[in-house]
């Protein structure tokens, strides 16, 4: 062993000869686009566009109906069968409305903002694998527009540009509520994108790639919702914050900002923001499906039928759509049941809880993965007829002990807090103890304020006791 190698080992803590144990596979996309001519990509882009538009039409009706049910009323049921065409009618009405530009608006940016928001919403879906390889017009091609070695990062980057639409809309409207809405939105998306990216890092560590097709392929035996369960919870919280939906819709809270960044918008330009919001919901749901729920793969029981016939060809679209709509239903459910959080509470949750906790989780996952891949020694121990690697057992034990300890400390503090809050008020109260008259709590006995008036022996001594 040369001096340089030894120094490197000492400094990094990773034995150099063990580097060969890392999976020798590539992190490039699994999807094979070699049999996809350019016109077929255009057809696929068009199909994705139509899929998203139809889904949006449907989900707005779905949302109103489900929320109606949750609030003991029917919801829209007049236009078309079951009210299915209500969204179409609303869209037509919106297009025929007058398009108003405020006098104080910055005209170019005011028109640009909805365009940015709407176009960026569509871009991310290009890398979502909707199904496995299929035959399409005589070509064998994956049901995915394109894939990159960094596909998931692309979704985050495009979301970051989409926020420009909201921020610029708020600024260019030239009035106060939209400006505050735009500012809130930019702060919100930037802070929640950090936690979201960190949550996804655990999935990258497990799959060894950032390409969506590779991640789906890596989940063929185990969906990442199990090993990366904590990441899943954090991702679901951040995806609601990222799409400005209740209970995190602070950028457009009606009660506070009369609509927020889109207060001044009307007609087609407002419709674009509306469309962008729903397509963003579909994008984050599709990403959650791809990252944690095995993408287009059939659920475990069904996947085993007839040696996996439901896991091939066009069946993928069905499973993908079902999983996607589970998330959409979750969005609607949240909106129907939770009130809006306060802005400072929302920011505190993001910066002081989600980001540090997810950071700790990523470090834990890194150790678990390192142990699995054999970086921390490859001795095994036999237990109930199976071989378990020692390093993994030790790491999991340490993490479990730490988590248990943290929970124990936290619960002790919570119990103290509850005990402090539920302590009964003192039996006697001097209403003038603090210098101001204070009414007694139910069941409390009043101490007469002055011995000269009441003649009671020693209320002065009680003053200190009853304070606070």
């Amino acid at each position: 062993m040369s001096n340089a190698t030894f120094a490197l080992e000492a400094l990094t803590g990773i034995p150099q000869h063990l580097a060969a144990l890392a999976p020798a596979t590539t992190d490039n996309p699994k999807a094979d686009f070699s049999d996809t001519p350019w016109w077929l990509s255009l057809v696929k882009a068009l199909l994705i566009f139509v899929y998203l538009l139809l889904s949006t039409l449907l989900v707005i009706w779905f949302e109103r109906r489900v929320i109606g049910r949750m609030q003991q009323r029917p919801g829209p049921n007049r236009t078309g069968p079951f009210g299915l065409l209500q969204t179409l009618a609303d869209g037509m009405k919106l297009m025929l409305k007058e398009d108003i530009t405020p006098a104080a608006a910055d005209r170019v940016v005011y028109s640009l903002a909805p365009l940015i928001a709407a176009t960026m919403a569509f871009v991310s879906f290009a890398i979502i694998p909707i199904g496995p390889d299929v035959w399409m017009f005589g070509h064998h091609t994956p049901l995915q527009l394109t894939d990159l070695p960094v596909a998931v990062l692309l979704v985050l980057a495009v979301a970051g540009i989409g926020v420009y639409g909201i921020v610029l809309a708020g600024w260019s409207s030239g009035s106060t509520y939209p400006l505050v809405g735009g500012l809130r939105s930019s702060a919100q998306v930037i802070s929640y994108e950090i936690a979201m990216g960190l949550a996804l890092v655990a999935v990258f560590l497990y799959s060894g790639s950032m390409s969506t097709s590779q991640i789906v392929a890596a989940q063929s035996s185990l969906w990442y919702i199990l090993p990366a369960f904590f990441s899943f919870v954090v991702y679901v919280i951040t995806m609601v914050g990222e799409t400005n939906r209740l209970p995190f819709d602070l950028a457009e809270g009606e009660g506070e900002l009369t609509g927020g960044f889109h207060t001044e918008y009307s007609s087609m330009r407002f419709a674009m923001f509306y469309l962008a919001e729903y397509i963003n919901m579909f994008t984050v749901s599709a990403l959650a499906t791809t990252m944690f729920l095995g993408g287009w793969q059939a659920p475990p029981g069904i996947a085993a039928i007839n040696s996996g016939m439901f896991n091939h060809g066009w069946w993928g679209i069905l499973w993908f759509t079902i999983k996607l709509w589970i998330f959409m239903w979750f969005f609607v459910w949240l909106r129907g049941s939770l009130p809006r959080v306060r802005y400072d509470q929302f920011m505190r949750l993001g910066w002081k809880f989600l980001i540090p906790v997810t950071l700790a989780w990523v470090v834990a996952v890194a150790f678990i993965r390192g142990a699995q891949l054999g970086y921390l020694g490859d001795s095994t121990v036999g237990l109930v007829g199976r071989e378990f690697p020692v390093a993994t057992l030790v790491i999991v034990g340490v993490i479990a002990a730490l988590a248990l300890g943290a929970t124990w400390v936290w619960e002790g503090k919570q119990a103290d807090k509850v005990a402090r809050e539920s302590a009964p008020p003192p039996e006697r109260i001097d209403p003038y103890a603090g210098g101001y008259p204070v009414p007694p709590m139910p069941g409390q006995e009043l101490v007469e304020p002055s011995p000269a008036i009441s003649g009671s022996p020693t209320p002065v001594a009680l003053k200190e006791d009853t304070r606070g």
């Binding site: 070695p149 960094v150 970051g160 926020v163 921020v167 600024w171 400006l179 930037i190």
Partner: protein, 256 residues
Amino acid sequence: MTGLGEQILFWVLGPISVVAALGLLFAKKAVHAAICVALVMVNLGIFYLAEQAPFLGVIQIFVYTGAVMMLFLFVVMLIGVDSSDSLVETLRGQRWAALLLALGLAVLIFTAVGTVTFGPMQGLDDVNNGAGNVSTLASLIFGQYVWAFEITSALLITAAMGAMVLAHRERLGQRPGQRVWAERRVRSGRNVAGLPAPGVYARSNAVDTPALLPDGTPSELSVSRVLVAREQVTTPVPYITSAEDVEGEIEEGYER
């Protein structure tokens, strides 16, 4: 050789980048300049993507456009909705000096770049098709250059902490709360019930209209100091006269 698609991409996005970069220099409003910079950064990211560096390209867009420029925009928006650059020269001859220096720099850069000779194009195909773009980059950053990487990150964190410490101002003494203010008012015996509220009239209800004292004169204490400093206080006279007119009409009606 560069492919046809790459050439088209370059000749479409290149001019857009140049125009956007010039927009940064010549835009009057700070927000327009920020949008131009964001556009330049997105174009840079696309160029990186075209140069077979997908990780670098996407990170360029993600970090610089999505986070750094967004924070810039955030600050610019907070400073003022309509703040334009002032064109008054604070240092005499500053513009000419800047122009001269810029010219000198341009000559330096162009002569330096002009003498560069490029070797045969290698491309990144071998690297990208082997272990993959991201893995290769990662093994370089966390293998060969791990110390440079760690030291840079330590420096950046130190810089961020330093900026926070420098910008943070410690409060001297306790901030007076509602209770302290109330006690202070009671002790001094002035405005014990708080300052008077601004005027509410039959036809107006606004913070910029002073209330009337019992003798009919407007109370200066009832309007905010900020509005007084900005000279945005209106006079209550029209509301009083209109109210008096109505009273007069009512009395006339009684007399009839």
